[in-house]
Each structure stands twice: as structure tokens, then as C-alpha cells.
Symmetry: C2
Subunit: 474 residues, 2 copies
């Protein structure tokens, strides 16, 4: 999941698309053929199943991720694309045991403890091998944390911030995520700075099936890591209810390890442009995933929504002016080293990077396009929206931020960035949980993402002149 | 959860309730006061929270169940009810380690296995201490099992039957459950008879959050138990997909233990009748629960829907002619020993048992009443339905089977049996899982169950003449 949020995105552009402008030199009939072929191909779904069923979770440093690199590379070669593996050193954090229980609270019958459902956050430190026991301080936000700083030393802090599913239901899933995820990202570090012995966050997600949602946490430079975990929503509620009645004491055992950085690779597969093969339009998703589920919605779906673009162009034997470059990024989840390695390899010159598209908001139905471009460039995208009208992917949203964590370094260098706008209402119900599995991706929704990315990518690669550059803040 | 299903229940009775009949001797205004007091009391919810938050899971034989017996007994004494503990010896099955993984299948990259989410079924035997590895045979039903009998010897059988959530959404949750649960109940025994080394069932439930749903399984007399577990729906799908492509091999480790029977108790609390105190109308739920969740919907809600009846009568200082007897049954989930002990203590004479009500279909909103009575008795219940009309609990369903597993022995002896009809659309999403927690019970829904049981129980205890006897088949 991309780290910056749609909350920073501008309002839905009610652009005057009917304004007079030079006729696009891209043939609408070709875009329609690309759309229709995408909506009839089961190639992406079949290959997503092979990825998630045969390999499963793909955390950076795991043998699964490297098996996935090989699997995806082999698959792209069968399409006739030119494949290269771009090396990147990736963090290697490994989950261990994870156990928690409430060992004392008001009204506890003698000898009884309450088991908690929790999972360590990426970058969590380990507890002592025998675990640790401490009282729990429940806070709603950073303000309360600071107000109660004196209680925090020696305690386990629980950040208890609810995910706003109503926002997600109203098409603002990214905003809902952003409101909660700041505590997962920064809460443990802030608690550690005040002397907490461990930190927990209420799971960042919208469904209550006692699923803990993992994800990365970050410790500020100079701040030693402490044990950090996500509690299921139900268990966070339980702790909060008991803590409202009196002191609560928790036992916690986490044994994650941070190993030396591991070797990994971006999988790059080029579909050669017919006129300007050195100019590239990127279609992409990230291949790594968290380790609890099988990484179908985050982000196997994005990888194969992007790979499907090449498959459709092969099917139709279409080579646009420029090269369409598929990238399966490594290490989006806990380091972003894949995106950084790609940008670094450009040595400061991104001139040939014409545009970059990333799908990383799940396998939901495509509703349109989010475009981080100059506002005046939006009108030029009209043929894309027109071609997507029959499948309902007509929204065009102006985005002032990153369009995907992996392509953000390119966007900072001035490359126009895009992502499919997708129906993400249920995305955060499964995100970073064990329930991120293949069944959560509807075949037709994945087809609609292939169609959206394929029409957009072909258009961008076929335009006589590229869109103007557009830089976002780093 | 009661073991017999609403699938054996008769059709919704469109009874001619307007037919001429003797005026009921129960005052409608009193029934209305009971209803209103129930809808304004938070006593049941508060005490349900104390049960689930402070004690949690309550499997037979556990210290939690016995703590719950003491907690509920103390709570009922505070209401001024006469409390007795009725002993029952209960099975004592204890869950151990439970791990499963797919260790071979077509397309598996070297060194990679797939972790499965599963949980042992009650009565499961243990695997060898090092686990067992065997090929998997996936069957849809008993017919396929028998057809493929030759493949089953030495294999792990997976019964892959989907829970029909559409049926549940249409008010037939019990039917949906019944269709699937027969494989949980009888599948492992049938597989064992054909020489299977272990048996798995697709989780019986309606939500896909990778939750395994536990529950009891039964081995036929003379059939040695084998290891038996429920696979999450997602993992069952995964196994099925891989098995459709080629041989699948699974490693399984289960270490449950069956210990000697343990001591437990039904909690009985009498609210004394003013004229015929030796005649009793039972209001009840079961106190034991499965060990994964905190037993809020199954069946803490039922226990406190029933206990709330006494609280409301105390609030209003109402004593009907007959005694209203609250019972928190022990051991519904894996033995039914509580209900059997109560019936056995009657020594064949249930004459003073005027009626029995049990709530055991979750904490959903009450929609009316299911009545296992003579069809001609239904009309007599009109004042109850009239009193419940303002809260919408107006359905009156004739039931030809048991109205609750714990009261079934009484019904066999001729005691009219009742249960609140409840909205159970989401019940089987949480049933027997770790997600059976307090937040799944809406306070107003629980109030509606208290109201329904209180109005019905008061009415039955106040009628000048009891309803005629009605025996169900054992």
C-alpha cells in the first residue's frame, strides 16, 4: 500500500473536457480495442492465482519474494517482453512468536487471563525472551500521550484510534487510512521517547473479525526500537473498557529479528516502442507483500493489473511509439528500496521516463484515473476517459501528491504520475491481514484495472508529444 | 448454538389470531410495562460485558466456565432470586497446538510451503507429536467420499461444502447452518471409517476473514477418533484449487487432549411465583462457550437475555402466579450434559415444568417467537404478540422440533418449548470463532430479546391454565 494518501489529492476535476484542443493523434478505435480485449482476458487473474496460490506471502528478504521475482520474470518472458532484473538491497525483518494476554485487571477471577490477538509491526524490536509484563496506558491520540507522559515510563502504550469505515464507504478510504496509520507509523517511536517499554496500536482497518493488521512502524533517528504490535479491534476495545475501570496489566512476547539486508530485484519487462523505444511509460505494482496473507489485494492485483497491459498489447500485436515498461517493484512495504533503486539508476536524468502508472490500492473495480500532472494537462486525457466510458471508469481526479510509493521518486524528478482510481471500500478490511487472499479479488474488477491501465498507458506511449513534466514535493 | 436447526421448523404461522377465544386473563398493560422496562434497562448488557470481558471463553472443564458459574450465581443473588447450583459432569476436551501447511503441490517453488489457518474440532484426536503428512482428498459431499473410497485410505479428507450465506441473508440461517454442519458433525467419522488419517471441514460460517470456525464432531460408536479440524474458507478454497491441478500434500499437527470428565453446574435462579411457586416457567441460555472467542453471541447473549427477565420483574416488583426460573445451562456445546442433568433430576415427572424458553441463536434483534406447542395453542399467544408489536417482534412461528438443545429433553417429556426468533443473518459469521466478542451484540437488540422473553415468560407464568403439553420426538 502506498504510503501517501489520497487525502492529499485535489478535488474531483470537473474539467471542461469539451474545450477546443488539438485532435489527439491516438486512434480512439484502437483504445476501444484495448479496453475490450482487457475485459475479455483472464490472463491476469490466472497469473495472480499462480502467484498467490503457489508462492503466497512475499515479505522482503523471504525466499517467497525471490521465488516470485523468478515466477514473474518467467511469465513476462513468455509474453515476448525483454526482461531484466534490477538489483536492490532490501531490509530483512522476520516475524517471530507473538503472544499477548491481560494478566490483571479489576474483577479478574483468580487464575484467569485473557488472550489477545495481536501481530508485530515491521521494525518492531523483540521483548525479552521470557516476555515482559507492564501496566497499559490507553491513549486516543498524541495529545493525550503527551498529557499523560508521566504515566508512560515503564508502561505499554496502546494507541486507540478507530478506523473511520464510513469515510471509506464514501470513497475516502485513503483519508480514513491516513487518519489512523499515523499512529502505526509514529506512535511506537513517540511512546519509546517517553520511556514506554512497548507500544500497541488498534489495528488500522475496517472490519471486526478479530484480525490484527500488520504494517511498518518507524523509529526516529537515535530512538532505539521497542516492541510494537497491532491489536485486533476487538482486543483494543477490551483493553480500553477494562482500563476505564482500573489498572490493566499485560504480558507481551514478541520475538522478531532484524537480519542483514537481503538481495532482491525489481522485475522490469519492456514492450518495445516502434518509434522511440528508449522513451518509456511505466505500468507497475509492487511484488513484495506482508507476511500474514498471500498478498492478493496488496499488491498482487496491482502487479497483474500492470502485467496484463503487456499481455493485451501482445494479443492485439500493438506497439505504440514508445516502450511500455512493466515494473514489479520490490520492497514497497517496508523500505521502498525498489523504487529508490530504479530512480537512482537514472543518475538524475529522468528525461526518457515519460510517465509512470502504479496500481496499489487493491483489486477493486476501476472507477477512473488519478493523475499527478499539471492541471492544464488533464484535458488532454479526454480520449482515455472516453474510451473507458463503457466500463464506467470515467472519474478523472487531479492528484497533487504521489500516485504510488514506488513511483514517487520519479514524480519528484518531474515524471507525470498516475494510478487507477479504484473502489477501495473494503480494501482496508483485508489490508495487511491474513485475509488478504485471492478470493478478495473479483475477476471482472481486475479486468477493469487492466483495461484502465492499458488504455492510459497506450495513450501516453502513443501521444505525439509527451505530457509536460510535473514535479511533486519530495 | 442449539444442535437442531430451524430447518425442521414449520412454516411461519399465519394464524387466525383474531378468532374468538376466551379473553386472556393476563393484563395487557402489565405486558406493556414489562416490554418497556426491558427496552430501557442496560442491566443485561452491563452484565454480559462483565462475563465476556472479565472471564472470556468458557469451554466445559475450564476454570473460566466455573468462574462464570460463580459470577452468574452471585449476580442472580443480587436480584433477590433463590439460587441453586445443579451439578453435572461435563466432558473435558482441551485444545493444544494446531498447525497445518501445504508441503507439496504442482508448481511449488523449492523450499516453499503454504501456511494454513485451521482449528481443531471438539473431540478431535491428536496427531503424532511430530505431526503427520499425507495427501489430501477433497470431496464435496458424502456421495463423493464414498465414490472415492479407494483414495481415502491413508489420506487427509477435506469436506468442502460452502455455507450458503444467501440463505442466511434471507432469514434461513439455521437451514444454511444445517446444510454445512452435517459434515463437521459426521464427516470425520465417515472419513475415519474409510481409513483416512485425518479429516478437515471447510469452516461452517458465512464471512471470509480467514477465520476457522470450531465446533464439535462426533465419532460413531466403535469408530476410533482421528485428528479433525476446520480450515478457514480461504484455505479450503486454496486446497481445492491446488488439488484440481494435481496432488497436494499436507502436514498437520494437532495436540488436543481429552481429560476425565470435570465437575460443572447449571445455575438455577428462581423468581418465586405468588400462587403456584412449585410450577415453573424456564427462561434460559447456555453459559459454556467455545474457547476461541469470548462467547458473547454464543451464548452469553442468551444467558443475559434470560437473566434480564428476572431483573425486569424485580424492577417492576411483579410476581406472576408461577415461578419464573432462570437457568444458565452448562455444556451445551460439547455434550449437552446440563440439559440432561436437569431433565434427569425430574425422575420422569415434568408436570411442574410448565414451559421452557431458550435463547441460543445469538444476540440479534428479536423478530418474534418460535413456539413448539400444539398448533391449536398458537392462538392463545396473541396477547404476547400484541404486546411485542411496538418493538416489531411480531412473528409467530410454529416449531415442530426442539427450541433449544438444552430444553430438548424437557420438550421430549411434553413441556412446551419456545425460543425468541432473532435476526441471525450475521450470526454464523462469528459463530464458534475468535471473533465472537462483545461488540457483536447491539445493546438494543439484546434489550429486544429481554423484552420478548420477559413478556412471553410472564404471560406463560400468569395464564390461569397452562398451555397443553406438547411432546417432540427424542
Amino acid at each position: 500500500m502506498r504510503k501517501l494518501m489520497l487525502s492529499v489529492v485535489g478535488v474531483l476535476a470537473a474539467m471542461p473536457l469539451c474545450a477546443a484542443e488539438p485532435a489527439a493523434a491516438v486512434d480512439g478505435a484502437t483504445l476501444a480495442r484495448i479496453r475490450d480485449a482487457s475485459m475479455h482476458s483472464d490472463w491476469a487473474m490466472t497469473n495472480l492465482a499462480a502467484l498467490t496460490d503457489r508462492i503466497g506471502p512475499r515479505l522482503s528478504g523471504s525466499p517467497q519474494l525471490e521465488a516470485a521475482v523468478q515466477q514473474v520474470a518467467a511469465t513476462m518472458r513468455t509474453l515476448g517482453a525483454t526482461v531484466q532484473l534490477q538489483p536492490a538491497k532490501v531490509p530483512h525483518w522476520v516475524r517471530g512468536l507473538e503472544q499477548g494476554s491481560l494478566v490483571d485487571y479489576i474483577g479478574r477471577p483468580s487464575g484467569i487471563t485473557q488472550k489477545l490477538h495481536l501481530t508485530a509491526l515491521g521494525n518492531s524490536a523483540a521483548t525479552p525472551a521470557a516476555g515482559l509484563t507492564a501496566r497499559v496506558v490507553v491513549v486516543q491520540d498524541y495529545e493525550e500521550l503527551n498529557k499523560r507522559a508521566a504515566e508512560v515510563r515503564g508502561a505499554i502504550v496502546l494507541f486507540h484510534t478507530r478506523f473511520d469505515q464510513r469515510l471509506a464507504d464514501n470513497g475516502e478510504a485513503g483519508t480514513a487510512y491516513g487518519q489512523s496509520v499515523r499512529y502505526r507509523n509514529g506512535g511506537p517511536s513517540a511512546a519509546a521517547a517517553l520511556g514506554a517499554v512497548a507500544a500497541l496500536v488498534r489495528s488500522v482497518g475496517g472490519a471486526d473479525y478479530r484480525l490484527p493488521h500488520t504494517g511498518n512502524t518507524s523509529f526516529k533517528p537515535g530512538q532505539a526500537a521497542i516492541p510494537a504490535a497491532a491489536l485486533s479491534a476487538e482486543d483494543a476495545d477490551l483493553v480500553q473498557r477494562l482500563a476505564a475501570q482500573g489498572p490493566v496489566s499485560m504480558q507481551l512476547l514478541l520475538t522478531p529479528q532484524t537480519l542483514p539486508d537481503a538481495d532482491s530485484f525489481n522485475v522490469i519487462a519492456d514492450w518495445r516502442g516502434r518509434e522511440k523505444p528508449d522513451e518509456v511509460v511505466i505500468v507497475s505494482g509492487h511484488l513484495d507483500s506482508w507476511d500474514l496473507g498471500t498478498g492478493a489485494v496488496d499488491d498482487g492485483a496491482g502487479v497483474y493489473a500492470a502485467a496484463g497491459v503487456i499481455e493485451v498489447l501482445r494479443q492485439l500485436n500493438l506497439h505504440p511509439r514508445r516502450t511500455i515498461r512493466f515494473v514489479a517493484w520490490t520492497n514497497e512495504e517496508n523500505g521502498g528500496r525498489g523504487g529508490k533503486a530504479y530512480a537512482a539508476a537514472l543518475s538524475g536524468n529522468a528525461d526518457k521516463q515519460i510517465a509512470a502508472i502504479e496500481s496499489d490500492e487493491g483489486g477493486g473495480r476501476a472507477l477512473g484515473i488519478s493523475a499527478a500532472v499539471r492541471p492544464e494537462s488533464l484535458a488532454a486525457l479526454r480520449p482515455v476517459i472516453d474510451a473507458l466510458r463503457p466500463i464506467g471508469a470515467t472519474a478523472l481526479k487531479h492528484n497533487e501528491g504521489d500516485a504510488g510509493a514506488d513511483i514517487e521518486p520519479l514524480q519528484v524528478m518531474g515524471v507525470p504520475g498516475f494510478s487507477p482510481l479504484v473502489d477501495a471500500r473494503s480494501y482496508f478490511s483485508y489490508h495487511h491481514t491474513a485475509a488478504d487472499t485471492l478470493d478478495k479479488v473479483e475477476p471482472q474488477s481486475l479486468q477493469s484495472q487492466v483495461a484502465t491501465m492499458a488504455v492510459l498507458a497506450y495513450f501516453l506511449a502513443e501521444m505525439p508529444e509527451p505530457l509536460p513534466r510535473y514535479s511533486i514535493a519530495p
